[in-house]
């Protein structure tokens, strides 16, 4: 198990033990698992998926940020985060993330894509 800690500039969003978390790294998706080599990467907009036994337990959209991976700790510093269970294709334009991303066409495009058809299901 790895300790996944998700932090926004305002507060700690959540912190919990997970088997695996898939994150949208700047140069490709990667999975955070225990005993990963120490690693720092920036994030591109995309889906963050918390998985156990090859199934997605929880799924989020992150608009970007940083991740720091140590032996048993995965710290994700996010700009914006939205649980995908809260948004669907009909209401995503009302979501907070959508409003915050206003003007950033590429990120919005990714958001729409992730909401409608997440890469990890």
């Amino acid at each position: 198990m790895i300790n996944l800690k998700v932090v926004s500039p305002q507060k700690v969003i959540f912190e919990k033990e997970v088997e695996m978390a898939v994150l949208p790294g700047a140069e490709g998706d990667f999975a955070a698992m225990p005993n990963h080599s120490p690693f720092i990467s920036s994030l591109r907009p995309g889906q963050m998926a918390i998985m156990s036994s090859n199934k997605v337990d929880e799924s989020f959209f992150v608009s970007g940020g940083l991740v720091m991976l140590k032996e048993k700790v995965c710290e994700v510093l996010v700009d914006q985060i939205e649980p995908l269970s809260d948004v669907n294709s009909s209401n995503y334009q009302q979501s907070k993330t959508y409003q915050e991303l206003e003007g950033n066409e590429t990120a919005l495009g990714t958001f729409e894509q992730v909401v409608n058809n997440p890469p990890y299901k």
């Binding site: 932090v7 500039p9 305002q10 690693f39 720092i40 920036s42 940083l66 720091m68 140590k70």
Partner: protein, 293 residues
């Protein structure tokens, strides 16, 4: 002899002042709690970010590889000071302490041959510095309504990046009242450009046993990190300053309430004495009138 009616009016007006100050104290106390929570919960992000930044910067042995915005320019000529004041008054020495401190800092800088530019946050600073002949590059107001702190911090960050890139400023420091406790706030400077590296030393032991891989490469990461770091530092100072403001207001309003109470006691005493003096005088008049008959 004081006029009875006048005294009565005085007492009632001081009483209503006391009501107002004690209400302000309550409001400040509850706002303080919220501001303190916000300041504390934002610390996690700021700490992690500065840890990442210091492991990144520490990893680069040659400091000349680091961008100018991190290390500062050689021969810096123009300093920018960001002053974090409050939007409202009635908070004791909160703003005046800050301005006194800033004045000293500015003359220090000018003594070193640098010119100083000012960026004001909060209405009090902007109205104070308008009267001076200092160069104000930007003013930001109305931070505490509708949780605009993060948004304003972003605007400040964009502004300083823009000014730095166009060579209008070489150094940036930020001045704010640091929240020490509910009764003590301390004007504090923090240097943004060049980056102050207090945290680097602190975290060294922990960071030595982990050598990180970076993705994308360091320079690209720094490009993302540096503005992020500015934003969090500014945001942090804004939050600290708002917690300090509420704390300062709470203590000064507490004092004001107590002073009003003392004043009411004194005035009531005078009022009663005067009233008695009137009664005694009237009695003497009646008795001496009766004796005359």
């Amino acid at each position: 002899m004081p006029n009875l009616k006048e005294l009565k009016n005085r007492i009632s007006s001081v009483k209503s002042t006391r009501k107002i100050t004690s209400a302000m104290k309550m409001v400040a106390a509850s706002k303080l709690r919220r501001a303190q929570e916000l300041a504390e919960s934002s610390r996690v992000y700021a700490d992690s970010l500065s840890f990442i930044l210091s492991s990144l910067a520490g990893n680069t042995k040659n400091s000349s590889d680091l961008p100018e915005i991190l290390t500062g320019r050689e021969n810096s000529k123009i300093s920018l000071l960001i002053i974090n004041s409050s939007d409202r008054g009635l908070c004791g020495g909160f703003n005046s302490n800050l301005f006194r401190n800033a004045k000293k800092w500015i003359s220090d800088q000018q003594g070193q041959g640098k010119s100083v530019k000012i960026m004001t946050v909060g209405k009090k600073a902007s109205s104070f510095y308008k009267k001076t002949d200092l160069d104000i590059v930007a003013s930001f107001e109305d931070l505490n309504s509708n949780d605009r702190q993060l948004q304003v911090s972003e605007e400040i960050k964009n502004k300083i990046m823009e000014l730095f890139e166009s060579n209008e400023i070489d150094e940036v420091s930020i001045l704010f009242n640091k929240f020490v406790s509910a009764i003590s706030q301390e004007p504090t400077y923090q240097s943004l450009i060049p980056l102050s590296n207090e945290e680097t030393i602190e975290d060294e032991s922990e960071f030595n046993n982990a050598v990180f891989e970076f993705e994308p490469d360091k320079n690209e990461l720094l490009e993302y990190l540096v503005p992020r770091n500015f934003l969090t530092q500014i945001y942090r100072s804004v939050l600290e300053s708002s917690a300090s403001e509420h704390a300062a207001r709470m203590t000064s309003m507490d004092n004001a309430t107590r002073n009003a109470g003392d004043m009411i006691d004194r005035l009531t005493l005078t009022y009663n004495r005067t009233r008695q003096a009137f009664i005694t005088k009237e009695l003497i008049e009646i008795i001496s009138g009766a004796e005359a008959v």
